[in-house]
């Protein structure tokens, strides 16, 4: 039997290269290291088949070890100078460097145990930091590589170097590898299925706190944060990096009406209370947990707008509304309990699947649902509510919205407001002042995404320097300026959407579409109206083509996984139980009662027959073998093996092409039947 002369890297090495490359990708997704740092690691990972030939060289190993030591020293130095702020980032870099080191220095007699376990450790740690779809997709590649790699590692001990001749035939080796690959991929699928089953059905507390949370603050503030909806603003020091996330937070489906006429601002919370640190937070009256907002009526006391309670406790309707369009909203689950509604909403109805929670409407017209998790509701949209001008503003009601922030940061805003007011005619209305201020901000200050290089960190820096800022800074500045002129104003936090094309009835709102704007009260305008002083907004509802649509769908599904909770599980159960009924119901409605049932039974019978036929029918290789024998006019005798039949067929005047085809068929059959091609490895 000929010795195997290996050409190129072994299957195990290829597998390990894939695992390490996935690890580098995991680290890249966390943003722990600059891609410039990671690029050499990618290169060295892919160059492993070439570099491994030097692994016995002292110089080569010395260089690697020196690199590790130097990086460790850098980590220690960095930790000592930055007070451990970047220890996680550096630790991840060190871990991934060690992975690449192990890959490129693995000796023949060494087992890559460490590489496998370390790779999973990196997956776990990075999975705790980043939860977006990119992680899921990378893990979907990593997991089969991990399982296949374990199989191949196992096989490695049976290599020719260990005195076993079973794999010394090239054909045999490739056959074993093929069988092993098939087995390991099948096991990967089984494992993935079992994991999903455990995920859906394993009983656990979705709101479990950390084990020692009462002793330690394990949440921390992190070194970066994700741009998204905020229930409060804080400018005490924006020194963290911000990540623009494409996570889908809402899916809007326009059931009725023109999608292009959908309102732009979808409110989540109003922030009327200035913070000492320079930020904003919701008034206690506007918080969902307060007793006031549990008032079942949808009431805006300030506007005098009063809504009647609907008979259905899961639906609130504003009387007298005129519906222009209907939108079904699916809000991803998570820590947010808020419903996102435009001011034009006059009726909200939760889907019937929500049976456990309670819809709470706040006095500012925002709403929340008592349970976290995915939420589905239908919104009817009409004209923006307008009330006749109040006869007179009561001081006690105005006071909360003209209260001046006591922060030092806001001095510049007040000064700016005073200077701009001097240019305006005396007696300018609140609307005029607002438009003037907003236009000034939008034209004189540039937009910089959160965390972008050069972006302002404080309100003072935003107003006093050329550094641009993001929507929260614009909105805070305008609200402060307006309040300094005794115009009631509040900051609103929520999401914006860009009107889609007319034929696009499904819109996705992502985390990065979070926005802050200002609502101003004006008697002339009949109440509160929205003003957006931010000059540039991130795009929304962009058309990304079919690829973008597919990614968005995946993101949506992934968000359903990461935000899975008890409510989601209850809905899942409900949907599972209802599925057969729904299927039959749909068939009946489409085909008629009898035809529907008959179709269902017919489908079942077909399925059973198909499974049965698959069990009874011979494998494809046997069919191919019979076909080739028939073509040569040879009939296999009882007890005669295909090999013997092949030899018999080769006697006499036979078309060489047909004979070659028969030989291939016999070899395929032997491989399929016995997972080997026999001792000689070939039929001849």
């Amino acid at each position: 039997m000929p010795e195997v002369k290996r050409k190129g890297p072994s299957a195990l090495l290829l597998c390990m290269m894939g695992i390490v490359a996935c690890n580098v990708r995991f680290v890249q997704l966390t943003g722990a290291a600059d891609p410039l740092w990671l690029a050499p690691l990618y290169v060295v990972t892919l160059a492993a088949p070439f570099l491994l030939r030097f692994r016995e060289s002292m110089v080569y190993r010395g260089v690697w070890n020196l690199a590790i030591v130097l990086f460790f020293l850098r980590l220690a130095l960095h930790a000592s100078t930055s007070e451990l702020a970047f220890v996680l980032d550096d630790g991840l870099m060190l871990a991934i460097l060690c992975q690449v080191h192990v890959l490129n220095n693995l000796r023949k007699e060494q087992r890559p145990d460490l590489l496998f376990l370390n790779s999973y450790l990196i997956a776990v740690i990075t999975g705790y930091i980043t939860v977006d779809l990119s992680f899921a997709l990378t893990f979907a590649v990593y997991a089969p590589l991990f399982i296949v790699g374990l199989h191949l590692q196992h096989l490695e001990q049976f290599d020719p170097g260990h005195g076993v001749s079973a794999l010394r035939s090239t054909v045999l080796r490739s056959t074993v590898l093929r069988a092993l690959r098939r087995e390991s991929l099948r096991r990967s699928a089984v494992l993935a299925g079992a994991t999903l089953l455990a995920f859906f059905f394993f009983p656990r507390d979705f709101n479990r706190p950390a084990l020692f949370s009462s002793y330690f603050d394990l949440d921390g503030d992190g070194s970066s944060y994700e741009v998204g909806f905020a229930q409060s603003l804080d400018f005490g020091g924006i020194n963290r990096e911000a990540a623009q996330s494409d996570r889908v937070v809402m899916r809007l489906e326009v059931l009725e009406g023109d999608p292009r006429s959908l309102p732009r601002f979808w409110r989540g919370a109003t922030l009327s209370e200035p913070r000492r640190s320079g930020g904003w937070e919701a008034r206690s009256e506007d918080l969902p947990a307060s007793s006031l907002v549990r008032d079942p009526a949808w009431v805006s006391r300030w506007q005098g707008l009063r809504l009647a309670r609907a008979t259905d406790p899961k639906a609130w309707v504003r009387p007298g509304g005129e519906g222009r369009s209907r939108v079904h909203v699916t809000r991803a689950g998570g820590v947010e309990q808020r419903l996102f509604l435009p001011r034009e909403a006059f009726a909200v109805e939760l889907d019937p699947i929500h049976t456990e929670g309670e819809l709470i409407v706040s006095s500012d017209g925002t709403a929340a649902y008592s349970n976290q998790g995915e939420l589905r509701y239908e919104v009817q949209l009409g004209l923006e509510p307008r009330e006749p001008a109040p006869r007179g503003l009561r001081p006690l009601e105005v006071e909360p919205f003209i209260q001046q922030p006591r922060s030092l940061f806001n001095q510049s805003a007040r000064t700016l407001a005073r200077e701009l007011s001097r240019r305006m005619p005396d007696g300018a209305s609140a609307l005029q002042v607002t438009r003037e201020f907003a236009a000034y901000l939008a034209t004189r200050y540039s937009y910089r995404a959160p965390g972008a290089e050069g972006a302002a960190r404080t309100l003072d820096e935003f107003l006093g320097t050329e550094a641009g800022g993001h929507c929260e800074l614009f909105a805070s500045t305008l609200a402060t300026m307006l309040r300094s002129r005794n115009i009631p104003a509040r900051v609103v936090s929520g999401y914006t959407l860009t009107p889609p094309p007319a034929d696009e009835r499904v819109l996705l709102i992502r985390s990065r579409h979070a926005h802050a704007w200002v609502e101003v009260f004006s008697g002339e305008e009949g109440g509160w109206f929205a003003v957006d002083p931010t000059p540039q907004l991130e795009g929304g509802g962009e058309d990304d083509g079919w690829m973008g649509g597919a990614l968005a769908m995946l993101e949506e599904r992934w968000a359903a996984v990461t935000r899975f909770d008890a409510g989601s599980r209850a809905r899942f159960w409900q949907a599972l139980r209802a599925f057969p009924r729904e299927l039959i119901g749909r068939a009946e409605s489409e085909l008629g009662p009898l035809a529907g049932t008959a179709a269902a039974i017919g489908l079942l019978v077909l399925l059973v027959l198909r499974v049965k036929r698959r069990r009874l029918s011979p494998p494809a290789t046997v069919e191919a073998l019979n076909r080739e024998f028939e073509r040569l006019g040879v009939q296999l005798q009882p007890q005669e093996t295909p090999r013997e039949g092949f030899r018999r067929a080769g006697v006499g005047d036979v078309d060489p092409d047909q004979l070659a085809a028969l030989r291939r068929a016999v070899e395929e059959h032997v491989r399929d039947r016995y997972a080997s091609a026999g001792a000689s490895g070939r039929v001849g």
Partner: protein
Amino acid sequence: MRPTHFGVKSLLFLTAIIGAFYAAPYVNLFFLLLAFFGLHWVLCIWWTYANLRGVEVHIEDPGPLQAGAAARAGWSVLGERRRFGLILNVEFDSGAVGSGRLAFTGGDARAVIQFPALDRGVYRARKVTVSSTYPFGLLTRTVSLAVSPELHVYPEPTAATPGRLAHDVAAADATSNLYGAQGRTMPAGLRPRIEGEALRHVHWRASARRGSLVVNEWESDRAEEQAFLLDRRCAGSVFEQRLSSAAGAVTEAKHRGSAVRLVSQGLDQTYTGSGVHWDEALRFLAGAAPLPEGEAAPLHLDDPSSGVRVA
């Protein structure tokens, strides 16, 4: 079933991430990762078990083995079910262990089991096990098999010295007969010369034709076969030397394809390729035990009916 070294490390790792999972607030993704790793352990138990479920092994008879030399025997797994990564261990009463590996089974896959160098004797397998760590290398499952192969290890052969035998000498070798020295054999053909054979036996003309040395091969009748008298009334190294000489005579006869008659206490048997095989003689020598001095001689050497001629 027990964890391997890698399995122990992996278990420690699993314990650590379970600890981390509970030390941190609940996160769905962490649960998914933990479930994947935990289930890969759970399923590994089943898959490792299933890989050896109902396994049956056939160990080929290696025949008599020579003492002091490593030996091999073929083995295969019965049935056509695919199994991966099997290790066969054969443990003998003496503590010696033979082992063999089979990367996969199914069809005609076959591997060899290697035995260490053993002393003369008959070794009965105390325990035959087949084990596997497939598929993940985390757990080892070992299955005891109901087969008990026997190894017959005959003594290391030494060449017998013709014409040096006496009445009280254990071995009576008639190797001189091989070359027709007694004038009662007929040439049967030519064969390649064996290292050590006297040059006078070389057939020079045929050797010149073939380009390599060949010698005449003689066909002897029953009365002139080689015979070896083994008197076992001794002990220790003398006994072992006699056995070695007897083994030398048998292996040489086997090598030449000629008959050999072995005479000892309770034994008088001619071994050939067609009748009782030479391996039986070697098996006898593997298990031969010394006898006390008071025992009878194996044969009356002066009995003309014995057919044994002592040179």
